[in-house]
Amino acid sequence: MASGKVIVEVERPGAIGYAAMDAETAYVAAEYTEVPGEVPAVDAISLADGSVREVIAPQVIAVDPKGQAPWNAAHGGLLTLSPSGRTLGSCIWQNNLCDIETLDLGTGTLTRAVTGLAGGLWLLSDEVLVAVGDADTYGYDAATGKLLWVIEGARAQSGYLLSDGLTLVEAYQDVGSSARIVATVDIRSGARHELLNTPKEELNPSLWAEASNDRYAVLIPGGQGLDVALAGTGSFVADLLDLSTGKIERAALRVSTR
């Protein structure tokens, strides 16, 4: 068990592979089931008392006999919550295409507004679904599935939504110039505001989305991932990108595992 105080400990069948959590609830799903074409159920675990309730029942989907049935039926690599905590989303793969499935946690309404995507769901608000392909980022209306905007030639590398659910902070590589760019994107309109543009000749910082917040994006110099940055001494120094001004505070944060 982790070295902190255990809040809940619950045994579930299968290999749990997806999870999302807010203040009161953890949502979990298995990687896949033994039944070909079956999308595993999504369970909600109360962090108050450990009780479990099913919020999405298992679903059997049609699978191309030539497809990889177990994987096709998985939840597409993630369960993700909107910043408000009202919407849960995942990507249901079906014959190598993604259907974005959202659950309104208030009403229990399950929606697949966007189907047949070659890419996959990345992030979502209650109103907009953000999806990515190999080199593009897309915004879809969560209710109607209408494509709202596309950022073309932008290979998404990391990002997060601000708590207002309206703004995406995205780090991406410009496919044409190979520059590494950090920008804010209004997910209703797709309007972009570039904050940082690092030419390909320079060492690119990595956006550390998990540690970033509404005010600062945390950047790891040198384009390193966390595992590389922490290797050896177990510590590194990060920069902070002020999202309101675009100013970088160099070496503003020392991160250590000890």
């Binding site: 255990v6 993630l78 917040n213 595992d227 290797a231 250590s256």
Partner: protein
């Protein structure tokens, strides 16, 4: 409260699916074999545990070098204004230790023991999974979901 979610684009690209499934099976098998022979298991058998990995990449392997206990911890900088002691999870597998995670200012940390893999975090808490016995299919037959607080005084 604002949920703290993984925001890396851990996407599934169809072409990688067979490789990932194979990787999962291999890792689970390796975990089972190591457990059977009294060894330890440190790698995650779940591809979704790769929250900090590049899109579509396989789960991280335990290849890092454990920090030496005799090293002097680095001096910590004051936490910049606007940054609170927020939780983060680094899925850095440290060989012989497990996964290392911590809080932003480095003053507290959490080491998940071997065999326990983090899947999600929100402020002050981390959700991890401990897999049960491996079934004949090569998959874990059960999982224990553990939600724990960070150990540090906040």
């Amino acid at each position: 409260m604002q949920p703290k979610r993984s925001v890396q684009p851990t996407l599934r690209f169809p072409g990688l699916a067979p490789m990932l499934v194979a990787a999962i099976a291999i890792v689970i098998l390796a975990v089972a074999l190591r457990a059977s022979f009294g060894g330890s298991a440190g790698a995650s058998p779940s591809p979704s545990a790769a929250l900090s990995a590049a899109p579509g990449s396989p789960p991280p392997e335990a290849t890092g070098t454990p920090p030496q206990a005799t090293e002097t911890p680095p001096a910590l900088l004051p936490l910049p204004e606007g940054l609170t002691n927020r939780t983060w999870v680094t899925l850095s597998p440290v060989e012989g230790v497990g996964y290392v995670a911590g809080t932003l200012d480095g003053r507290s940390h959490l080491v998940l023991p071997e065999g326990e893999s983090p899947l999600a975090a929100s402020d002050g808490r981390v959700l991890s999974i401990r897999f049960g016995p491996v079934a004949a299919s090569g998959l874990a037959s059960s999982s224990t979901v553990i939600v724990a607080t960070w150990p540090a005084a906040r």
